[in-house]
């Protein structure tokens, strides 16, 4: 559908207030990082009187935000890598060694889509305690690895498009089942691996419920958990809280800028298949 140039200018004008309103909360957060607590409460919306950067220094001094960032990074990287590997591996026999048993395995795994995390929460809490996995980064990583079912589902759809002749030819050439997967199949999965990594990264980086329940101590907080604690500690000091929020949002914004196209592609791919 094409419209004249005049009509298009109208669209710009029509969306401008909606866009400004949508962006407004981020504007508020940013301007208030340069104010004192008093100025924030008396003039929350205006630009700061003087641009004061001391809140930024204070956040790094008073909160363990660097360590929390490191923890979030370790947890996210390790669990995403695990999930991608486990999920891709699981799809391999289901696609290349089909049979009644692997059909059942597939249904068993896809059932996971219908099971909300909340339903498993109480026994999970006990299980994590019994296995001594509470307040351990690797405990949370192991727990997240169980979320590989979503990756498995994405990989399954993609792997079905890989021609079977590829693996048959490799077998004739004397390649083992193990070698075929790692040397031939896995490298071919790159596009869907990128999609999986993006979605799982967003989930784990942003997750609050699991870290809240399974990480308690000050040493092992994630960035989101740190924000939650800060909200309690700085309940009267909004500028400090806002500054922390901005510092947290910067890497997310960079991720968004770099990955926007990939995220959209992933949404589309996932939606079309789903």
């Amino acid at each position: 559908m094409t419209g004249g140039t005049r009509r298009n200018w109208l669209l710009d004008l029509l969306l401008l207030p909606v866009g400004l309103l949508t962006f407004f909360p981020f504007y508020l957060v940013i301007v208030n990082t340069f104010k004192s607590a008093q100025e924030t409460s008396s003039r929350p919306m205006s630009l700061p009187n003087t641009w004061d950067f001391s809140n930024y220094g204070n956040v790094f001094e008073e909160t363990p935000i660097v360590r929390s960032f490191g923890n979030s990074l370790v947890i996210t990287v390790c669990s995403v890598l695990l999930m991608v590997m486990i999920g891709a591996m699981a799809a391999y026999p289901v696609v290349f060694n089909p049979g009644r048993m692997n059909r059942l395995v597939m249904l068993y795994l896809l059932m996971g889509f219908m099971i909300p995390f909340q339903t498993t929460l109480i026994p999970l809490f006990q299980l994590m305690t019994d296995l001594n996995l509470v307040d351990r980064l690797y405990g949370l990583i192991a727990l997240y690895a169980g979320g590989a079912v979503f990756v498995f589902f994405l990989m399954l759809g993609y792997m079905k498009t890989i021609p079977k002749e590829l693996s048959e030819a490799a077998i004739i050439d004397g390649c083992s089942v193990w070698g075929i997967f790692w040397r031939i199949i896995f490298p071919l999965l790159k596009p869907i691996t990128v999609t999986s990594i993006i979605f799982q990264t967003m989930w784990i980086w942003n997750d609050f419920l699991a870290p809240m329940l399974f990480l308690g101590s000050n040493r092992n907080t994630t960035l989101v958990l740190e924000i939650y604690k800060a909200k309690g500690e700085f309940s009267v000091n909004w500028p400090m809280f806002m500054t922390m929020t901005v510092i947290t949002l910067i890497p997310i914004f960079v991720f968004f800028l770099l990955m926007q196209k990939q995220i959209v592609k992933g949404i589309v791919g996932g939606a079309v298949k789903g």
Binding site: M1, P25, L28, N206, I227, A271
Partner: protein
């Protein structure tokens, strides 16, 4: 190499996922089911089977009843509002105009950061005190006194839904946009030659062809809405009273905080059944709808 050995080599690839998935998802699900019929409290190793007692108790428990009803309200209302906003937004973003990309980014970005963080930011805007941002705007523009956005039962519920809408509408608009862009241009050209005007094109070509996108988007919104926790928790802590408690928060409260494992397990099983039933009916109904209108 014998066939059996080769088979075995393939099956080894399933071991890791079967292990973590069974341990962290299936086993806890089954155990939830078992615990829901007991009076297990976490301390006493021996516990008694109490039949359906926990399930009976659910409906007499204020927190649980209000958790279930608020969660359902949130899921349904946020799905409805987001869908009603996302489709026109996608139609607009499908046009060619100067600020298209920047607007798409602005609407899409709020779906990327954590919901907890976004809800805290909104807590600043909706702060019920007179220096709260929204209350300041209302006072200076309209002379309206401070409104209890987060402490009045009805306003608190609506506030959580508004924040969730702000955070997700752009994401769903992008999903619809992808489907819009897949509609062949010939359809529009053919219909235009037959004399269809713009509203007719949207009514008879665009909307019917968006039906599959709608099935997916509504499914994601409903299941996500039922699992909601962070946004209300960060905005209102579940208050006033139990008004904006979500099912998740109630499970944590009764189960982890108060160690009423049996009762909390019963809530989780009821929750599981609600999610199953709603997902099943939604997908069946909307797929029938797709067949009917296409």
């Amino acid at each position: 190499m014998t066939k059996a050995l080769k088979q075995l080599q393939y099956q080894v690839f399933l071991l890791p996922i079967l292990l973590v998935y069974t341990l962290f998802t299936i086993y806890p699900l089954l155990r939830s089911f078992v615990l829901s019929f007991t009076d297990f409290n976490g301390y006493n190793k021996d516990y008694n089977f109490t039949g359906l007692k926990n399930y009976m108790k659910l409906f007499a428990d204020d927190a649980i009843v209000s958790g279930i009803s608020f969660t359902l309200l949130f899921a349904l209302l946020s799905t409805l509002i987001i869908t009603v906003l996302a489709i026109p937004l996608a139609l607009i973003l499908d046009q060619n105009f100067l600020t298209k990309n920047i607007h798409r980014a602005i609407f899409f970005f709020p779906s990327i950061p954590s919901g907890l963080l976004l809800a805290f930011i909104w807590g600043f805007i909706l702060s019920p005190v007179s220096s709260g941002v929204l209350n300041t705007v209302l006072r200076e523009l309209f002379g309206v006194g401070p409104q209890p956005w987060l402490s009045d039962p009805l306003l608190a519920k609506l506030s959580t839904i508004v924040v969730a809408t702000w955070a997700s509408a752009g994401w769903h608009a992008v999903l619809y946009l992808a489907f819009l862009q897949a509609i062949p241009k010939d359809y529009y050209e053919a219909a235009s030659i037959d004399g269809a005007n713009r509203p007719q094109l949207i009514r008879y070509i665009t909307l019917p062809l968006l039906a599959p996108a709608m099935t997916v988007s509504v499914m994601l919104l409903l299941t996500g809405g039922l699992k909601v926790f962070e946004v209300p928790f960060a905005l209102t802590k579940g208050g006033p009273g139990f008004e904006t408690h979500t099912i998740t928060q109630v499970i944590v409260l009764r189960g982890i905080t108060e160690t009423q494992y049996g009762l909390a397990s019963a809530i989780s099983i009821v929750f599981f059944l609600i999610v199953l039933a709603i997902a099943y009916f939604q997908v069946t109904l909307m797929q029938k709808r797709e067949e009917r209108i296409q």
